[in-house]
């Protein structure tokens, strides 16, 4: 049976909450499974450290991803080398898998624009903050790929709230019409800041919004990394190599939960129950996969301890690296607005540089 041929409210599942197999396990070798697990641990640990950095005033506002590792890592893991991701602001986990170093992510949230420049070989679009605005980009970029006769797939991430924006509608509709190789991956974490999923739209599922565009829509348990992997893989393959009867684009609704605050500036206790959080924590993707891998004999205490130690070092190193990057200077402010600095902008820069020269940096920098 094709994975897309199911009711919209029947999520694809592989592992139960306790790690028992309840669906078709995707074809991954042990090393890959461990790597998937390691990435989730890394993302989780990074997340906690990033939140502390913010609390300590070493970083600005930061959007935690804890709880959403299964969806992010599971999906990014399903991509081929030449495929792309088009993220929102919460997909550092997915970006990491696709080659964006943690240092970059830290820099970005530390207010260094360099953090938004992924390495040239990382097929990752920049963070998109205006909600859903990246959706048409993913359609356009994927369209370019087919126009050039290439066969890259593009996975676009966005939240449940994003489905209400016009850009979601326009971007997915274009994808349907031009049959672009795009996978629209909705991280339905139940909340758009303080607005619960049920107040975002009256449709029973988000997956069924695919009906409006004549494309496949499917739900997946977003806290089941193997299920996410499987469904994303199927969608990417269909995008790359369509069969005659199905459209290339797919809308995936990955049901999950954000354990933490919307961002470090948010206090979720104002609008949601601790009880709800606790319920969802039972679905935590990390112990779930761990239980399965232990049961399969792929992981044991030693291996887990090793991974945990490695993850800690990796994050600590990234923080050191990021914090040792010098504060950018005025030149960085003017660079790249245009390919070449127009004369008036050069004049603005020079005049500012002279003022700074005269008064010293202290006259400008707060803190």
């Amino acid at each position: 049976m094709n994975v897309f041929d199911r009711a919209y409210d029947d999520p694809v599942r592989v592992l139960d909450e306790d790690g028992t197999v309840v669906g078709e396990v995707p074809d991954l070798v042990d090393d890959e499974l461990v790597e998937l697990y390691r990435y989730m641990k890394l993302a989780r640990h990074f997340d906690g450290r990033a939140v502390s950095l913010q609390r300590q005033g070493r970083m600005g506002t930061y959007p935690p991803l804890s709880g959403q590792e299964g969806a992010q890592i599971g999906s990014a893991f399903a991509l081929g080398d030449d495929d792309w991701i088009v993220p929102s602001y919460r997909e550092h986990g997915a970006a990491l898998v696709r080659g964006v170093p943690l240092k970059q992510t830290l820099l970005y949230w530390m207010g260094h624009v360099d953090g938004n420049r992924a390495p040239d070989d990382a097929n990752v679009f920049p963070v998109a903050v205006p909600i859903a605005s990246q959706v048409p980009h993913a359609t356009g970029a994927a369209w370019a790929s087919t126009l050039r006769g290439e066969d890259d797939a593009f996975v676009c991430y966005f939240g449940d709230g994003a489905t209400s924006e016009g850009d979601f509608h326009e971007g997915v509709n274009f994808a349907g019409v031009f049959d672009t190789p795009t996978v629209f991956f909705c991280n339905n974490n139940q909340w758009a800041i303080s607005v619960p999923r049920e107040r975002q739209t009256r449709s029973a599922t988000l997956a069924q919004k695919a009906e409006a565009y004549g494309i496949d829509g499917v739900q997946v348990d977003g806290m089941d990394p193997l299920a996410v992997y499987a469904v994303t893989k199927a969608a990417v393959e269909k995008a790359r190599d369509p069969d005659a009867d199905r459209p290339r684009p797919t809308l995936i609704e990955a049901i999950q939960y954000r354990f933490g605050a919307h961002t470090t500036a948010d206090d979720p206790t104002v609008y949601r129950d601790e009880g709800e959080v606790e319920t969802w924590k039972r679905k935590d993707p990390i112990p779930r996969l761990e239980r399965y891998l232990r049961a399969e004999g792929v992981l044991d205490d030693e291996r887990v301890a090793e991974i945990e130690a490695g993850v800690k070092t990796q994050v600590a190193d990234a923080i050191d690296e990021a914090e040792s990057v010098p504060r950018p200077g005025p030149r960085d402010l003017f660079e790249h607005a245009y390919a070449e600095l127009p004369p008036e902008l050069r004049a603005q820069y020079e005049s500012f540089a002279a003022t700074r020269e005269e008064h010293g940096d202290a006259a400008f920098l707060e803190e």
């Binding site: 260094h112 624009v113 209400s164 500036a265």
Partner: protein, 330 residues
């Protein structure tokens, strides 16, 4: 004696909404997270409990929907006060703002008026993420049919907000989030209005007129104090409303000084400093003794926050701009 409360600027926003909602059932607040959460800046805190979910409405995440629904409500005679979470997210609703909110009255020869007030926090300096620090009032000031208000004190904020809500014309109300909590002021508990379209002189001086508004008022006043120690006396005019501009106040202050500086955090090219300069030389060229200097944001996209201290006009740059205007000798 009027009863007062000692409020921050954001509390004055809240108090303005609270006061006017209590007086007028047709006032409805809608936007993202304005309900139970009380707004991401707490500008609507407690209003949900006070007035209920029908009048303090959490909407889906869609700016054009928010503005467009408010247009529909206002056309029916209600007085919606939509909030856009940050002014950088007004753009998805830009078509509704310019094509409808601004033009409904003209387009229907006054059959439909739109007594709506579109609120949004604007401006930089709070170490916010990308797209959260914009100051693009010039867009709205260039669109006829809108009024654009940018207060700088808690007292003005409440009075101008109530004036905006009562105004038969649609108002874009841009709040200086940098100073949402920077200081407190005694604000009357009762409802009162501060007239839209009138500037306020914040400091008197004979040497140079300095025009500014919103969050830039404070560094401008600080610069003026510093310069006073050097013997340069600035007249500081807080425009408060950027559309319509208080041309009379601008020309008057200029005629008395012959020199001027305009300060805003919006980018220079196409910003309102150019408009103000043009007004002055149109109406008072013969008084002019020096080029009018512009101290503004640079013509680059607003940077991520590690660079924002360089981007934003600060006391040093304002002082320098004023000095340039004062020291110019033909």
């Amino acid at each position: 004696m009027t009863e007062t409360q000692n409020l921050t600027l954001v509390q004055a926003v809240r108090d303005g909404l609270y006061t006017e909602m209590g007086r007028d059932d047709e006032v409805v607040v809608l936007g993202q997270d304005v309900g139970k959460n009380g707004g991401v800046f707490r500008a609507t805190e407690g209003l949900f409990d006070e007035f209920g979910g029908d009048r303090v409405v959490d909407t889906p995440l869609a700016e054009s929907g928010i503005v467009g629904c408010a247009v529909g409500m206002a056309a029916m005679g209600m007085k919606p006060v939509p909030e856009i979470q940050f002014s950088g997210f007004m753009y998805p609703g830009f078509d509704q703002i310019v094509s409808h909110m601004a033009r409904f009255r003209t387009r229907t020869r006054g059959r439909f008026t739109l007594p709506m007030t579109l609120r949004a926090p604007y401006g930089g300096g709070i170490r916010a993420p990308e797209h959260h620090s914009e100051s693009k009032e010039a867009f709205y000031a260039h669109e006829a049919g809108l009024k654009v208000v940018m207060p700088s004190t808690p007292h003005d904020t409440k009075g101008l907000l109530i004036a905006a809500i009562r105004d038969p014309d649609p108002v874009v109300f841009l709040e200086p989030k940098l100073i949402y909590r920077a200081f407190r002021e005694d604000v009357p508990t009762e409802a009162y209005t501060v007239p839209i379209g009138e500037a306020a002189t914040r400091r008197e001086g004979d040497d140079v007129a300095v025009f500014t508004y919103g969050a830039m008022t404070r560094p401008t006043l600080e610069a003026a104090e510093n310069l006073a120690e050097e013997g340069i006396e600035c007249e500081v005019v807080d425009l408060r409303t950027v559309s319509p501009l208080d041309r009379e106040a601008i020309v008057d202050a200029f005629e008395r000084t012959g020199r001027a500086t305009v300060v805003h955090e919006a980018p220079k090219t196409g910003g309102l400093a150019g408009e103000i300069t043009a007004i002055i030389q149109e109406e008072a060229l013969l008084y002019q003794e020096a080029p009018i200097t512009r101290v503004t944001g640079f013509d680059v996209p607003y940077p991520l926050y590690a660079l924002e201290d360089y981007y934003l006009p600060n006391v040093t740059r304002v002082e320098e701009g004023i000095r340039e205007a004062v020291e110019f000798n033909p």
